[in-house]
């Protein structure tokens, strides 16, 4: 053995340092104990809750989407059950053998089997994989009866959205589709349902704008899971809440008639009830079949829709904005009357053009209209009259009047992309175009050309307001879950009723008097007359050269450069109930291309009128509304 250490300086040092070390260690141990106490005792409640959440997983049960009906109770969007069969690999034992057995009961092909096996291999063993869908109830029953022989096989219920009216309601309803990453970035909606893969949400139209009520509320299934998500057992279940039932103001018969009437023209029609703003028809042609979108549109179909020069995907009735042309003259006329710039007897001479500041502003009639008063200016749609008047009235008055009649302002309709058009002002031009307003701008605006833009919806609203003298606003949704949606704008517009009467008289003359521009489009309905106004809006600038050569016949021009044809009207003339606007893109003259459509649609409106009252939804839908769906 070595010598025992002498008790020396180092020995003392060792003892001292060892005690210091022990003290430090004791300190650390105390800290550990205190932290242990803090976590386990003081924060116990919150951690216990978190632990519970860890253990209990909430699975969402998707709700059934709400149904949509038209005003007479016809279903226009509903859900069809999609019976499908899911399989869980780890419960199936030998998946291939089970699938072969399944194939004897249910129509599945070799390819389906191969695909299902492929998918199951790629997923975790406990994830349910859809092996067959679009099945009959009989198949489901057969599978249920054979359940013992088919381990891991579960019949499940999903839903397809169906639009029975097809293309007639494509623009109004829009369509549903699986939620995308883009959708999630766009929305601040925090509904957990959106996180379910391929959950169907409204992508357009009413389906998009009334998405939240239509969607319903998710049910929940509380299940105990382990960390990799395998279900251990179900703890409880709360049923989902079916989405709200929505009733629109549109009449499906009129909508169908209008779209049929428009055929394959690129055109749109809006019909409104002037008393309450109900939109009876909102047609945009050509249209498309929204059902194709629900199940995933094929690439050629999608290409065809996108490349069509008539732009079928666009809802032209609210999104298309056009120079309103002569349909805007009522606004200019009213502004002049209200401002005291003209009286009904004031008249100007039309010689086919007016020279202002060395520039010629042409009337559509090259020979001129002679002496023109207010009534004649509307009836024969003289442009020179408005050139003369506009110089007095000024653009600010005209645009202010336009906005009172719903032009240049956005209407709150339950549709996406409702455009506000434009009622231009000097300030607007200074800001948007960085240019000064010139008198020529006023002259062009006075006849609805130049900067003025309006959508068919706005033109219908304008006409309804002319017909009633109230600032009625359009509405598309009558009720959500039987809660009626408000009628807005019943209060009168602050315009002299006498002046409005003068305008209405002139509009009556347009259709019903000799020489009126729409004389060929009187209503055929016995005992009813329509008051209206034609419009033809240029989409190009006619050069002096063209004018001299006389080449401005529309038929000689390529489609894209032809004039837009417009017509607005209300009927019956003596007791207005319905207002209509028609815009035929590049259709040529308003009297020839647009007025006859308005006439036909208005005749149909009057024919259907007695049967257009609201009716409770007809629940003739075969769809099982039980929420016994899959848990996603």
């Amino acid at each position: 053995m070595r010598r025992p250490q002498k008790p020396g300086r180092l020995r003392q040092l060792l003892t001292r340092r060892a005690v210091l070390l022990a003290g430090a260690q004791l300190g650390v141990i105390t800290v550990l104990g205190v932290q242990m106490r803090r976590i386990a005792v003081e924060q116990n409640q919150s951690f216990r809750l978190l632990a519970e959440e860890n253990r209990v997983n909430i699975r969402l049960i998707p709700p059934v989407r709400g149904l949509i009906f038209d005003r007479v109770g016809e279903p226009i969007a509903y859900n069809e059950p999609n019976y499908k069969i899911e399989m869980v690999r780890e419960q199936a034992g030998d998946p291939e053998a089970v699938l072969r057995k399944l194939a004897t009961i249910v129509p599945i092909t070799e390819e389906d089997i191969a695909e299902a096996l492929e998918t199951m291999r790629a997923r975790r063993a406990f994830v349910p994989v859809t092996v067959a869908q679009d099945l009959d109830w009989a198949h489901i029953a057969a599978v249920s009866a054979n359940a013992p022989a088919l381990p891991g096989v579960n019949p499940e219920l999903g839903h397809y959205r169906i639009y029975p009216q097809g293309q007639n309601f494509a623009h109004i309803l829009g369509y549903v589709g699986p939620v995308s990453d883009y959708d999630l970035r766009q929305t601040d909606d925090d509904d957990p349902l959106l996180l379910i893969p391929r959950f169907q949400i409204g992508k357009n139209g009413v389906e998009k704008r009334i998405e939240r009520p239509l969607r319903g509320k998710a049910g929940v299934k509380r299940i105990e899971v382990n960390s990799i998500g395998r279900v251990m057992r179900t703890l409880g279940r709360e049923e989902p809440q079916t989405g709200a039932e929505v009733q629109l103001t549109v009449d499906h018969r009129l909508q169908r008639f209008t779209l049929d009437r428009l055929g394959d023209q690129s055109a749109s029609v809006v019909v409104m009830d002037v008393r309450n703003g109900d939109v009876l028809t909102l047609a945009s042609a050509p249209s498309f079949d929204p059902n194709k979108f629900v199940r995933g549109i094929s690439v050629p179909d999608w290409k065809a829709l996108n490349e069509n020069k008539y732009k079928p995907m666009l809802n032209k009735a609210v999104t298309g904005t056009y120079p309103p042309g002569s349909t805007f003259k009522m606004i200019t006329a009213l502004a002049a009357l209200e401002g005291g710039f003209v009286t009904p007897r004031t008249s100007f001479r039309c010689g086919g053009f007016l020279e202002v500041k060395d520039r010629r502003f042409h009337c559509w009639s090259r020979g001129g209209h002679g002496r023109v008063s207010l009534k004649k200016s509307l009836k024969e749609s003289c442009d020179v009259y408005y050139y003369e008047v506009a110089q007095e009235v000024g653009i600010e008055n005209i645009s202010a009047m336009a906005r009172r009649f719903g032009l240049g302002v956005a209407h709150d309709l339950s549709l996406p992309a409702v455009r506000s058009g434009l009622a231009p002002t000097k300030a607007w031009k200074a800001q948007a175009r960085d240019a000064d307003w010139v008198v020529g701008d006023t002259l062009n605006a006075a006849i609805g050309q130049g900067f003025v833009l309006a959508s068919p919806l706005q033109l219908a609203v304008m006409t309804a307001r002319m017909a009633t003298g109230t600032s009625i606003s359009p509405r598309l949704v009558n009720a959500i879950d039987n809660r009626p949606q408000p009628v807005r704008g019943r209060e009168p517009i602050d315009v002299d009723p006498e002046n409005l009467g003068l305008i209405r008289d002139a509009m009556f003359a347009v259709v019903n008097e000799r020489g009126g521009t729409a004389g060929a489009s009187r209503l055929r309905t016995r005992g009813a007359e329509m008051s209206g106004k034609t419009g033809t809006s240029q989409v190009r600038y006619i050069t002096r050269e063209e004018r001299e050569r006389g080449v401005f016949r529309n038929e000689d021009l390529p489609w894209e450069r032809r004039d837009h044809a417009l017509f607005v009207a209300f009927a019956p003339a003596d007791n207005p109930r319905y207002a209509i606007s028609v815009v035929v893109e590049h259709g040529g003259g308003g009297s020839r291309a647009a007025a006859p459509i308005a006439r036909d649609v208005m005749d149909e409106v009057l024919r259907l009128s007695p049967t257009m009252n609201y009716q409770a939804p007809r629940q003739k839908i075969s769809s099982r509304q039980s929420g016994g769906g899959s848990a996603g």
């Binding site: 053995m1 003892t15 022990a22 141990i29 116990n44």
Partner: protein, 379 residues
């Protein structure tokens, strides 16, 4: 002082050495290991075969090894200290060439009957070498610069080798084990102050230059350091471990959910639940009381180590005992701090409780040395 026999002046021989065993330490080690068996049984969902049984077998073997080592005179261990250190370094050198990789790190040597982790052995190797060095070193030289730099090299050499594997936890334990021996051996405070100061300066230099032209590390290295220090910045990586482990610990409350009643472990929310994070199971099932009980057991082991060291007039034995105790202390302190969110996640097991062969055997070997020093202390 021996609690059995205080008046024996001669060193015991033969089987009578059993009487002079440091029984409190042996019993406390057994108690801690038994806690581990219970937890491993529970974590496996009531399955003995999976982890508990192999662990019991290892402990029995380890206990045998400890006894065997205890019977060999401490003078022998002192004589082979240098050799042990050199062999340890050699094994570490061999790892990159002969080692087997597991989980992205190369730490193991397959010796046929056992896969050995030389870095684990090195923890004892460094403590032994330093204890030997300071036992040999003349009193007057302890704080001389040259004689201080020598042990620093002895410590840093294996530390950096282990860091290369990479195994931050073990490298840290080697470093601290060595530093503690130097501290207790009486190296002047100034050296420790200087070391702490220079490390602080280096760390601040690294962080202050961040984002400037002179930054010392690459951007991704900063990123790694940040996640290491603040795991919540990476909630699915190491942050996930900490959150889940705090949830499990916190849901235990004062007395826990009861044996085998923990939900978090059973449902697999925590990875490494049977190794580095086993303390969470104890916390969940036995609560604050269970956790503190284990802490007390550990503290008692330390206490008896200190008691043994301070009554040992053999400088080598005393330094070795304190060094082993300190290494043991840092094992559980680092592990518990990590599990309770006080320290970043470094792979350090809970000594004698976590499942794993190398660490347990090495600890039992270390306590074998402590026992030997205790039995053969000069009287």
């Amino acid at each position: 002082m021996s609690y059995l026999e205080q008046n024996i002046r001669t060193v015991p021989t033969g089987l009578s050495k059993m009487l002079y065993f440091n029984w409190p330490i042996a019993l406390l080690l057994t108690a801690v290991a038994a806690t581990g068996f219970l937890m491993l049984y529970s974590v496996a969902g009531g399955d003995m075969d999976r982890w508990a049984e192999p662990q019991i077998i290892r402990f029995v073997m380890g206990f045998g090894l400890m006894t065997f080592m205890a019977f060999i005179p401490i003078s022998f261990w002192r004589e082979i200290s240098g050799i042990a250190y050199v062999v340890g370094i050699g094994l570490l050198l061999a790892v990159p060439y002969l080692g087997v990789s597991r989980g992205g790190a190369q730490r193991w040597l397959d010796l046929g009957f056992i896969t050995l982790q030389p870095s684990e052995l090195m923890k004892i190797g460094v403590v032994m070498a330093l204890a030997f060095y300071y036992d040999w070193l003349d009193e007057k030289r302890v704080s001389r610069l040259f004689w201080v730099l020598l042990p620093i090299v002895l410590i840093l050499l294996p530390t950096f080798m282990v860091l290369q594997q990479p195994d931050l936890g073990t490298a840290l334990l080697i470093l601290i084990g060595g530093a503690v021996v130097m501290f207790v051996a009486g190296v002047s405070w100034w050296y420790f102050a200087a070391a702490i100061l220079s490390v602080t300066l280096l760390v601040s230099a690294v962080f202050y230059t961040k984002g400037t032209d002179m930054q010392l590390l690459k951007d991704y290295q900063y990123k790694r350091i940040e996640t290491f220090i603040d795991p919540s910045s990476d909630p699915l990586g190491s942050g996930y471990h900490i959150t889940q482990s705090k949830i499990a610990l916190g849901s235990g409350g004062m007395t826990g959910r009861g044996f085998m009643q923990g939900t978090q472990q059973r449902l697999n929310f925590l990875p490494e639940k049977h190794t580095d994070f086993i303390f969470t199971t104890l916390g969940e099932e036995f609560g604050f009381v269970g956790g503190v009980t284990l802490l007390v057991l550990y503290s008692l082991i330390l206490l008896f180590c200190f008691a043994s060291a301070l009554t040992n007039r053999d400088r080598f034995g005393a330094l070795l005992t304190i060094g082993v105790g300190a290494t043991f202390f840092f094992y559980f302190a680092v592990n518990m701090s990590m599990v309770m969110g006080l320290a970043p996640v470094v792979g350090v097991p809970l000594p004698l409780v976590s499942y794993g062969g190398s660490a347990m055997l090495v600890l039992m070997v270390a306590f074998g040395l402590v026992q030997s020093a205790h039995i053969h202390r000069p009287r």
